[in-house]
């Protein structure tokens, strides 16, 4: 049965690479070994891009990375900035860290990602992206050729339709609400947001996620960010209910985060 194709993807690779560096140094003695780590982060499994029997690219696996956490500008070439309009700059300047929806256990939206693993499930009619954390939720991408509705209700993950271009899954999404932030810094958007994501499994262990962002309500022109997710072959998604014991948002101070792509 070729219907259930499990393809997992995860969260911010670059970030995880960086984050796992101190982790590797502090791994507890006698702990169950995590996937082998070498040098500056977990070692990605090596091998060619896998395909299903019918030739379709297999995006399966648990992934980490693939989107912005702290600063969407980290997905731009070094030194470049998101083309905020005057309206966008005002929106961003007004944001206070304590109001970050993600800190308040609300969804990341797109293209932001939480630093938790995620998994993709490919079926003939849908692609599902299952998120372990923040929030413990899912995206559904319609693969049956349908169009976007004329007037979609604004939602956190929007209305997504997808298709394959060779080995790339292309996902077009509209119908977003304006509530989520792109990153800790509070890069804004409006309900005019339109994203086109291109998921390309470059090899067994590497998933490149390129997202074109168009939002004339907050940006002067479309711009494209690129992040990379890494396969975590020995991991499974775990439960993560953020609302259970959230005690942070009420202690966050001051304006949203500072630039991280100098």
């Amino acid at each position: 049965m070729k219907s259930l194709r499990i393809l997992a993807t995860a969260a911010p690779a670059l970030f995880l690479l960086a984050s796992s560096l101190p982790l590797a140094a502090q791994a507890p003695a006698g702990a169950a070994p995590a996937p082998a780590r070498a040098g500056r982060g977990p070692q990605r499994p090596q091998g060619p891009t896998p395909h299903f029997a019918d030739g379709m690219v297999d995006l399966s696996g648990v992934w980490n990375g693939g989107g912005p956490v702290g600063d969407i500008e980290q997905g731009l070439p070094k030194g470049e900035h998101a083309p905020l309009s005057e309206a966008g700059k005002k929106m961003m300047a007004a944001k206070q860290s304590k109001d970050d929806p993600e800190a308040n256990c609300l969804p990341t939206g797109i293209p932001r990602i939480a630093p938790y693993p995620w998994r993709i499930v490919q079926t003939p009619t849908h692609v599902f992206i299952l998120f372990e954390g923040n929030i413990h939720s899912f995206r559904q991408i319609f693969m049956d050729g349908r169009k976007h509705p004329d007037d979609p209700d604004p939602t956190w993950y929007g209305h997504s339709v997808g298709h394959y271009e060779k080995d790339t899954l292309v996902v077009d999404t509209v119908g977003f609400n304006d509530k989520f932030w792109f990153d800790f810094r509070g890069h804004p958007h409006t309900e005019q947001l339109h994203t086109v994501e291109r998921f390309t499994r470059k090899d067994l262990g590497t998933l490149e996620v390129e997202t074109e962002i168009t939002d004339p309500g907050a940006y002067t022109k479309p711009f494209t960010i690129k992040f990379t997710a890494s396969l975590r072959p020995k991991e499974e998604l775990m439960e993560y209910i953020c609302q259970e014991n959230q005690q942070d948002a009420q202690h966050l101070q001051g304006a949203a985060g500072t630039p991280q792509n100098p």
Partner: protein, 131 residues
């Protein structure tokens, strides 16, 4: 000796640089990395919950008054993937905790290192393991 100091400084820089990236909230907006704290006390409760595991410690201040401190760790998911368990720290454990206090002055902090009475260290720093 000099070499060791250099390594320490390099490591500190790394923590700082990566700090905001690995939690569901901005580390820098909640905790003051410029003001590290160290407390000694008794664990009164461990919460193995998301989005962060937490433990609470009764700490005597210089006047003898006991305050209950709330320490944040990474999420249980992260800690489990590192090999820790919900039994790694228990109520009644005598510990020394180093961390960074909440900027708003609450008796709340991010735990950087936790050392048990026998010298064993448990848990990694939450903002560096992220998640």
């Amino acid at each position: 000796m000099k070499k060791n100091i250099c390594i320490l400084i390099a490591a500190a820089g790394l923590f700082t640089a990566s700090a905001p990236l690995f939690a569901h909230h901005s580390f820098a907006s909640e905790y003051d990395s410029a003001k590290p704290i160290e407390v000694t006390g008794t664990v009164t409760k461990v919460e193995w919950t998301n989005p962060h595991a937490r433990f609470y410690v009764d700490v005597k201040d210089p006047s003898g008054k006991v305050l209950n401190w709330n320490f944040e760790l990474a999420s249980p998911n992260v800690l489990i993937r590192q090999g820790w368990t919900r039994h790694s720290l228990k109520e009644g454990d005598q510990i020394v905790v180093k961390g960074n206090r909440a900027k708003d002055g609450a008796t709340m902090a991010n735990a950087a290192t936790v050392t048990l009475a026998d010298g064993k260290k448990v848990f990694a720093r939450s903002q560096t393991d992220g998640q």
